[in-house]
Amino acid sequence: MADHLPILEVEDLHTHFFTKSGVVKAVDGVSFSVKPGETLGIVGESGSGKSITAMSIMKLVPSPPGRIVSGDIRFKGESLLPKKEKEMRKIRGKDISMIFQDPMTSLNPVFSVEKQMLETIMTHENMNKQQARIRAIELLDLVGIPDAAKRLKNYPHEFSGGMRQRVMIAMALACNPKVLIADEPTTALDVTIQAQILDLLKKLQQELGMAIIMITHDLGVVAEVCDRVMVMYAGKPVEFSSVKELFDKPKHPYTWGLLSSIPQIHNRKERLEAIKGLPPDLRDLPKGCSFAPRCSHVKDECLIKDPALSEDETDHFVRCLLYEQEEKVTVHE
C-alpha cells in the first residue's frame, strides 16, 4: 500500500448520553484507525454503538444529551475534537463524508436532487452553478444513474430506493472525500439491490482510493467488502482483526455466537446456536465483562473483572478473560 499512515485514528473514544434516566454509555472506549484505500468494517447488534461512533467522528452527536466525554479523533494526524463547529462544517462532506442506512428518509423530500447535490458541491468547492451542475452529472454517471442530466431535476420520491442510495453515494463523493463512512448503507434494500450497491462501493473505492468505514450488522457484508473488522458489543470493541482472521479463527465468544447463529446456505445446520438473552441496558451495564451474562464460557471472574483489549502477534485483538488467562497460562509454562 502506498500510504501506510492512517488517515483517520480514533483513540479510546467515549461518547455518553446524559439522559433523565441515566447515563447511556453508547461508545465506551473505542479505538481504531483506517488507512487510505482500506475498508474497515464495524459490526455489532442493534444498539451496540456503531452509529454513535460514526456520528462522533463527524462530531454530529445530538447534543444535548450526547457528548464526547473523552478520547481523541485525529484526521491526518490532526485532532478534530478542539475544532469549532464552523471548521468542522468545512471537513464534513469534503474530507469525511457519510451515507446513511435509510435512503428513503436521508434525502430532503422537498428539494430536487439537483439542489441537494449542488449545494454540497458549492459549499465546499469553488465552483459556479454551471460547473457544479456538470460535476453533479458526472457523479451521477459515476454511480450508475442512467440519463443523469435529466434525472437531476427529479425529486427524491421519484427515485427508487436503490437509486436514492446511489444519489446519496454520489453526494458523499462529491468532493473526493478521504474517508467515507457508510452506516448500514444496504440494510434497507432488497438483496438484489444490496448487491448492486456493494459492488458499486467496491468499484468506487478501487477508482477513488478513499478509506471506507463500513458499518453493518451483517457479517456477510463484512466478508464481502471489508479488509479489517471491528466487532462491537455494548459500546466496546470486543474483537478487532483482519476479515480473514475473524472468520477463520474467531476468538471472542460473542463473535462465535454471531457466526453460529446466522443460517448459512452453504452449510445447513440442523439447529442454529443462538446467543441466549438480550443485549444489556447501556445505562446499567453488568459488572465485569458486559457479555458475561450471555456468554456460554462464562467464569466467575468474568462477572467481576472487565477485561482489557489484548493483542496477539497477527494484529488480532480481543477483549476477553479467556485469552488473558491463556497468556498467563503460557507464561507459567
Binding site: 443462538a274 441466549k276 438473552g277 438480550l278 444489556p280 441496558d281 450471555r294
Partner: protein, 298 residues
C-alpha cells in the same frame, strides 16, 4: 430450549418496573412533568374552590348593595364590587362552579357525539364515512364562534343553550381525531391479529380499536375544555350565554365593560380567572399529550 428462552428475564427494563400499567405509567409521567403538574394544581384548585365556594366566598354572590357599587378592592371586598355592589371575589368563587359545569357539559356533548360519529365513520368506512365526513366538512366550514352564535340565536339565549351550541361546534374536532385514529388503529397488525383469531366487529371496535383511541380522545377533551370555556365565555360576553344573576365570568366581564374607565377591576379579575383556568387545562392537556403518546401531534 426452555433454559435458553428464560434468559430473557435478564432484560433489565423488565425487572425494574413491577406492576405498572400503561395508564399508571402515563399518570406518573404527567405528574413528573412540571408544567402539567401546574395545570393539575390549577384544576384541582378550581374544583376545590367550586366545592367549598360557600366556605371560601366572603359574601353572597348575588346580594346587591347598589350604594356600594364600583368599590375598588379593599379588605372588605377583596377584589372590589361590581355595578350592583356585589362582591367580585365571591362571584368569581361561585362562578367556578359554572365554569366546571360548562367544561364538563360542552365537552361531554362534543365528545359523545364526536366520538360516535368518528368511530362509525372510521370503522365502517365507505358511504357511511363519506356522509359523515361531508357533514363534518360542512360544519368545519363555519368559523366556530360564528356557528355558535347562530346556534344560540336559534335556541335562545341561555347558559344551557350556549353550552349546547359550543358543544355542537366542538363535535367535528372529536369526530376527525377519532376517525383518523380509528383509521390508523384499524390498519395495525394487532387488529388484523384479532380478526385472525375470529373476533367479531363489535369486539374489535370496543375491545381493541376504541381503547387505543382513548389517549388522543382524553388529550383532545382536556384541550377542548379550555377552548369551550373560552367560547362559552365569549358567548356570555356577547350577552348570549349566562343570564343574570348567574356569576358567570364572561358575563361579569361583559357587565363590567361599561365601567372600564372608572372601575377596571370589574373587568380585570373575571377575565384573569378565565385565563388561569384555561391555562390550567392547556397545561394539563399538553402534559397528557406528551405522556400518553409522544407521537400524537396536532
Amino acid at each position: 430450549m426452555a433454559a435458553e428462552a428464560k434468559a430473557d428475564q435478564m432484560d433489565p427494563a423488565i425487572n425494574r418496573k413491577k406492576n405498572s400499567s400503561l395508564w399508571l405509567d402515563s399518570l406518573s409521567r404527567v405528574i413528573k412533568s412540571k408544567t402539567s403538574l401546574i395545570g393539575l394544581v390549577i384544576i384541582t384548585l378550581l374544583i376545590v374552590v367550586a366545592i367549598f365556594a360557600p366556605q371560601i366566598a366572603t359574601h353572597s354572590p348575588t346580594d346587591q348593595s347598589i350604594i356600594d357599587r364600583y368599590q375598588s378592592p379593599s379588605s372588605e371586598h377583596l377584589l372590589g364590587t361590581d355595578e350592583l355592589g356585589r362582591d367580585i371575589f365571591s362571584r368569581i368563587v361561585y362562578g367556578s362552579r359554572i365554569t366546571i359545569q360548562i367544561g364538563v357539559i360542552t365537552v361531554g356533548i362534543s365528545m359523545i357525539v364526536g366520538v360516535f360519529l368518528g368511530a362509525v365513520a372510521g370503522f365502517f368506512g365507505r358511504w357511511v364515512d363519506q356522509i359523515i365526513m361531508r357533514l363534518i366538512d360542512i360544519m368545519m366550514a363555519f368559523p366556530s364562534i360564528l356557528l355558535a352564535i347562530a346556534l344560540v340565536a336559534v335556541l335562545g339565549k341561555s347558559l344551557t343553550n350556549a353550552m349546547i351550541a359550543v358543544g355542537i361546534v366542538g363535535v367535528p374536532h372529536f369526530a376527525r381525531i377519532v376517525r383518523s385514529t380509528v383509521l390508523s388503529v384499524k390498519e395495525t397488525e394487532y387488529i388484523e391479529a384479532s380478526r385472525v383469531i375470529g373476533a367479531k366487529n363489535g369486539r374489535i371496535l370496543f375491545s381493541h380499536v376504541l381503547p387505543n383511541c382513548l389517549a388522543p380522545i382524553i388529550v383532545q377533551a382536556t384541550l377542548t375544555i379550555g377552548t369551550a370555556i373560552l367560547d362559552a365565555a365569549g358567548l356570555s360576553f356577547l350577552g348570549l350565554g349566562a343570564q343574570p344573576p348567574l356569576p358567570e365570568w364572561g358575563a361579569m366581564l361583559s357587565d363590567g365593560r361599561s365601567a372600564l374607565q372608572t372601575a377596571p377591576w370589574v373587568v380585570m379579575f373575571p377575565g384573569f380567572a378565565i385565563l388561569l383556568v384555561v391555562l390550567g387545562f392547556n397545561l394539563l392537556g399538553d402534559g397528557l399529550r406528551d405522556a400518553l403518546d409522544p407521537r400524537l401531534k396536532q
